[in-house]
């Protein structure tokens, strides 16, 4: 499903040249649950953004569903994100003062559909929050907010779910609930790529990669 060939990413931060990714060369098959482990600053978020078509690699080749993504226009990349990819973030990023169900509806418009409340309610039911549909984010616990975010990531039925430290802001019980949810989605056939610094999370994965100083290696690095 995903094929990265010698991907590198450099950018400037002020005067300084930063090399976020030196060499990423790996593939993820459809239906895999891959955890990429790395310390903060290891380049793991940048890698996830490139896989998610939010960012573009400086060098190398990235194929998503055999489609070469490098150099595509903003509109084409946006279309890919809308139809194929669902994002989950560490700090949930729900729209404030917007009910759970309206948050879930949001991506539908970008996939060219009219907002569909019934579909959004179905998605909320799948994450066990049907009774919280009209609650605002401020009325939900962290775990509940993240499950709403999962429902939002699912609403356009994407094949690929990308999660950036999804349990980072949650207590252990809520984190486990979210991980079990992701595991269930994987069992339904969705491909999941998750980046984390947390060793415990890796236990949920079918396969683990490590990233250190921008270099991705197979397995658990020391």
């Amino acid at each position: 499903m995903i094929r990265l060939q010698h991907i590198a990413k450099e950018y400037r931060r002020g005067e300084e040249h930063v090399t976020a990714i030196r060499d990423a060369d790996f593939a993820v098959q459809a239906g895999e649950f891959v955890v990429i482990r790395g310390r903060s600053g290891s380049g793991k978020s940048t890698l996830l953004n490139i896989i998610g078509c939010l960012d573009q690699a400086s060098r190398g080749k990235y194929l998503l569903d055999d489609l070469e993504v490098n150099g595509m226009s903003d509109a084409s990349l946006s279309q890919i994100r809308a139809l194929k990819i669902g994002f989950i973030f560490q700090s949930f990023h729900l729209l404030p003062r917007t009910s759970a169900v309206e948050n879930v509806e949001l991506p539908m418009v970008y996939a060219g559909r009219a907002p569909d409340r019934a579909a959004a309610l179905t998605a909320l039911r799948r994450v066990g929050l049907a009774d919280r549909a009209d609650h605002y984010p401020s009325q939900l616990s962290g775990g509940e907010q993240q499950r709403v975010a999962v429902a939002r990531a699912l609403i356009n039925d994407p094949a690929l779910i990308l999660a950036d430290e999804p349990t980072g802001n949650l207590d252990q019980a809520a984190g486990e609930a979210v991980m079990e949810l992701l595991q269930r989605l994987n069992q339904e056939g969705r491909t999941i790529v998750l980046v984390t610094h947390d060793d415990v999370i890796a236990a949920y994965a079918g396969r683990t990669l490590s990233i250190e100083d921008g270099v991705v290696t197979e397995g658990r690095a020391s």
Partner: protein, 406 residues
Amino acid sequence: MRIPGHVWFAWRAVRRYRLRSALMMIAIVIGISGLTIMSSIGQATKQETLARFKNMLGTFDTLVVRPGAGSTRGMTNLAESDVTLTFDDAAALSGAPFARNVVEVENAFKIDASYSDQHVTPAVFGVSPNWAAVRGETLAEGDFLTAQDDQALSRVAILGADARRDLFGSSDPLSKTIRIAGVPFQVKGVLNPRGAGPTGASLDNLIFIPVSTAAKRLFNRDYLTMMIVQLKDPERSDAAKADLRQLLRARHRLDGTAPDNFTISSPRAIMAQVQAMGSALGSLLVVITVLALIVGGIVIFAVMLAGVGARRAEIGVRRAAGASRAAIAGQFLAEAGLISLIGGLIGMVIGVGGTQAVSVVERLPFVIDVPVLVGAMALSILLGVTFGAIPALKASRVDPIEALRG
């Protein structure tokens, strides 16, 4: 993404940030309601002024000649005026090629008139019989003055509606004898009311008598206080005015450098002046309102720009969810447009309500200046979109990676 999607999100954002949206709308509301009220009241005032002049003059295709070289404003006071216009002048004018009719007027104000124990002080107008036709008088009761009345120096009087009401109340005035400055006159007719004149005062507190009777039996003088010359060709008013002046100067034996001892005024010219004054005032008001709308646009600009900063995370989430840069720009642009549209609609409702209130208080006709209103709505949306453009562009350039960090 299609247009309805932008509008959908824009509407939700407008509702989500109610206070912010209201702030952005205020100046637009003030601008549009102000424009509606001012232009509509301006229109109504113009109509009302025209109607009042028409009330007073009956027709605009005339030239009015008064004695003395005084100003054209107001009625010449008899005590101050030169004694220059004569019945012979009037007769000469009525033979002139440009004149259709010449009305002879011999008038005085605040003359005591009484019937039994009722006293009033109307203006008394001695007029030639053609007055009724030129001014378009219609009679409520009885008949108007005739040539015979004039030749016979008859003591007959036609009452204006106010004079009739004050002297007779509900009783029948016809053939009753009233006293004008002590002289008995028989009531021959009553005019229909004309309403208010340009100053707002009633035009019905009048008594008409034959002009010759007025000259010889009441005021005891043989000159006129006014001549109204109805023109054959109202389009050639200026040429007629020049001819009329030459004719009178010749009759009055005025040499080349001597000033006129009469004044000719043209109701058309006065009307044009009044209307030009009105429209100059109107343009000023429109300029002020447009300034208010531009201030509204700047408020939208500033608040939207601040909003882009505050909503970076939202922009990031939308971009991750598949929004292109164009879609983000479209949403913010739709927000600005929607806010100014709603502001414009609220302003319009307030404006129409305000116009109605003012028209009741000021006793003006209720007129809505529709073209100005449509223009104002278009302008407000244009302003929203124009001043929303830079914030929208800025929103579309927010880096989603930066925005989603942390």
